[in-house]
């Protein structure tokens, strides 16, 4: 074995195995453990904003979503009919394209009384279609069926259709839209829980 030149900083206990050296060098072992701790601390500080960024959409306050949006003049909705109406989601974002469009079913019960249903089936969100002759909303996915007032008629849904809150502003029908309606994020956001139409609807002035 050739003689190696001694580096000034190299240890002199060459007779020990690497493991033995490590055991002997309690200072370096300590510094390594310290460095591990340091990295854990830096990692934790780094992780907080990263996780915050990742969970951002889930952390959002429900009340922050949604806005009132006009569906058109009252004359568009003849009394006794249920019509499909499209609007642009007030909570769309950059690059949504066609997915920013939303459809809803507007039922005009009387001059001042409306019901505005989400197209999303209360079972798993497929688009329900209105069949005027049989007075049913039918879902193409798993066969959910609803009566004209949105209440559950048959099939797998556990409740009636989701309803948007509405008000009449002058000559226009205005609804409150935001979250995509699901069982947890119902059509009209946090302020009012969605109610079945059989109950009274006090906000419908």
């Amino acid at each position: 074995m050739s003689e190696l030149l001694q580096h000034p900083g190299e240890s002199s206990n060459d007779s020990l195995t690497p493991a033995g050296k490590a055991a002997a060098h309690t200072r370096r072992t300590f510094l390594f453990k310290l460095a591990l701790g340091l990295n854990a601390a830096v990692g934790a500080v780094l992780a907080v904003p990263l996780i915050g960024y990742l969970l951002g959409p889930a952390m959002r306050k429900d009340s922050a979503t949604g806005a009132w949006i006009a569906l058109g003049p009252l004359s568009d909705f003849p009394v006794g009919e249920t019509r499909l109406v499209d609007f642009l989601s007030p909570v769309r974002s950059l690059g949504d394209g066609q997915t920013a469009k939303v459809a809803c079913w507007v039922r005009r019960i009387s001059d001042q009384q409306f019901q505005v249903f989400a197209v999303n089936c209360a079972h798993l969100g497929c688009p329900v279609r209105w069949f005027a002759q049989s007075k049913l909303f039918l879902c193409p996915c798993h066969g959910g069926a609803y009566y004209e007032d949105g209440s559950k008629a048959s099939g797998p849904p556990e409740r009636g259709l989701f309803e948007y809150r509405y008000k009449l502003a002058g000559n226009a029908l205005v609804i409150h839209a935001g979250d995509m309606p699901t069982l947890a994020t119902q059509a009209n956001c946090a302020e009012k829980p969605l109610v079945q139409i059989q109950e009274t609807t006090p906000w419908q002035v």
């Binding site: 889930a58 690059g95 279609r129 879902c139 996915c141 556990e158």
Partner: protein, 511 residues
């Protein structure tokens, strides 16, 4: 001649020198060659052992075609659908690349499932290969994850509403429902952030995990050796298995390359060729309609691999649906993961494991039945039946005007969305061709007006004259042989009692 030999020698020495230079610096070729030539029991050099390598080959194929598609695909909600049209129609061979990638996905799921069934049937998950199986289960889940996120990449109507179904399932989680939905969608609605995050999953996250998992999986196959062919009575015991395997390998071992690997190679080529043929002859999947949620004239359906889930979701009663959706998958995955922990020793041969074979058969048949049901969705109303199919004329012959009016009511009220007549119409409710042989007029009136048994009530949609006409038409439907109409025995009793006894007493005495 001497000159030619000299040239040959020089070339050989140059190649050797080049190899020596490379390997002395890289240090990988020799260990990899050794790994490839590792001995494997001669009885495992079988055609039954080719599926794992075929799945790996398909994965590489998917990565390659995926990278090529990413050259053109635009992962943006307002451009994705259009960029697929460009791929299909404007880019030379774009359609073929899409077809290879789409069919490759189906092939990969099929091969991974066959591989899993083979390993299960052969008891190859037992000691010492438990962790290999567990990693394999995760690889199956990742493969299915690739299939689902890949379906989202197609960003058509099915992708849009499929995501909606996913979000609706997540919304059923207690307490965390709303945050989960927003996490999946990336915002309040299904849009640009949704596609971006599924693109990230499909292209970065899951493939990374998948490749790393395959690396670990293959490493463990090398580490433990390819499992020997199971023999009835050859019991796996933790205390003896490794020694027995080594003895078997010492006695009968063959180098994996080439003695066993030639079969893998032939099968891989056959699979790739079938994949190319499917892609060439059947073409790419979709995209179908654009992801416009206001186009509601659609019947969304998932890709083949998920049809069985789609079918199961139609059959779950509402009262237990949420618990079943949330709990059963967790139990099923935990069961698959923990299988080798509970059955790590004992018999491996299928003839000594009847419960295992039965379980596999039941699962396979169940998945097959639900998938088949998912292809024609008998639970769904046929949404356009009433416009397309008039009542067949033979059901109108020799009918009274009232009965014919009833036939019109049946057509007009869209009864055939759910009920078939002469083979045309929905399968959700019973066929009506011989309805009058099973139900009396009273029963039909009650059923039509009040509904029940998964039929909506039509009391609000039919006026009394329509109901009368409809039921009198239904009363004429007694099958092709004009079977006897249903009768109500209690009616008969009333009539006889009227004949024999005194006038019926009023139930409540007048005051």
């Amino acid at each position: 001649m001497a000159g030619l030999n000299g040239l040959k020698e020089r070339c050989t020495s140059l190649l050797k020198g080049g190899y020596g230079w490379l390997e002395s610096r890289l240090g990988l070729i020799e260990p990899l060659t050794k790994a490839a030539e590792h001995p494997t029991p001669s009885n495992s050099a079988s055609w039954w052992y080719v599926f794992g390598s075929a799945a790996t080959v398909l994965l590489i194929m998917q990565v390659m075609t995926g990278i090529l598609l990413a050259l053109v695909y635009s992962p943006s909600a307002n451009e994705a659908w259009g960029s697929l049209q460009v791929l299909n129609h404007n880019i030379p061979l774009g359609w073929y690349l899409r077809a290879l990638h789409g069919w490759g996905s189906d092939f990969m799921i099929a091969i991974v499932l066959i591989h899993m069934a083979q390993v299960f049937t052969f008891g190859a998950y037992k000691f010492p290969r438990e962790l290999t199986w567990m990693v394999g289960v995760l690889l199956l889940l990742l493969t299915l994850g690739m299939a689902f996120t890949g379906q989202v990449m197609r960003f058509d109507q099915d992708a849009y509403w499929g995501l909606g179904i996913g979000a609706s399932i997540a919304s059923r989680v207690p307490f965390l429902g709303a945050p989960l939905v927003h996490l999946i969608l990336g915002g309040p609605i299904l849009g640009a952030p949704t596609l971006s995050r599924f693109f990230t999953l499909h292209v970065f996250v899951i493939p990374g995990l998948l490749l790393a998992g395959v690396g670990v999986h293959v490493w463990m196959v090398l580490f433990h050796g390819v499992s020997d062919w199971p023999m009835p009575g050859r019991i796996v015991r933790k205390s003896t298995y490794v020694r027995e395997y080594e003895e078997l390998n010492a006695k009968t071992g063959l180098p994996f390359v080439p003695d066993a690997a030639w079969k893998d190679a032939v099968f891989a080529a056959a699979i790739l060729f079938s994949l190319m043929a499917c892609a060439f002859f059947f073409g790419p999947f979709g995209p179908n309609g654009p992801p416009d949620p206001t186009i509601i004239q659609t019947a969304p359906k998932p890709d083949f691999a998920f049809l069985w889930i789609y079918a199961v979701l139609a059959f779950l009663p509402p009262s237990i649906e949420t618990p079943v959706i949330l709990v059963v998958p967790v139990l099923a995955i935990a069961g698959m993961l923990l299988l080798p922990v509970f059955a790590s020793q004992g018999e491996r041969h299928w003839s000594r494991r009847p419960v295992a074979v039965l379980m596999l058969a039941v699962i396979a048949v169940t998945l097959g039945i639900f998938t088949r049901l998912g292809t024609y969705t008998p639970w769904s109303p046929i949404m356009q039946a009433w416009t397309a199919d008039p009542i067949p004329p033979r059901y109108l012959h020799n009918r009274t005007p009232l009965e014919r009016q009833g036939a019109l009511v049946l057509e007009d009220k869209q009864c055939r969305n759910c009920h078939s007549l002469a083979g045309e119409g929905g399968l959700r409710g019973p066929a009506l061709d011989s309805i009058a042989t099973g139900m009396t007029e009273d029963q039909m009136i009650r059923q039509v007006l009040q509904g029940g048994g998964n039929m909506p009530a039509y009391g609000n949609a039919l006026n009394p004259s329509e109901t009368k006409a409809l039921v009198s038409f239904l009363g004429t439907l007694r099958g092709n042989d004009n079977l006897a109409p249903a009768t109500d025995p209690s009616r008969g009793l009333i009539h006889t009692s009227e004949l024999k006894t005194l006038p019926i007493q009023p139930a409540v005495k007048p005051r």
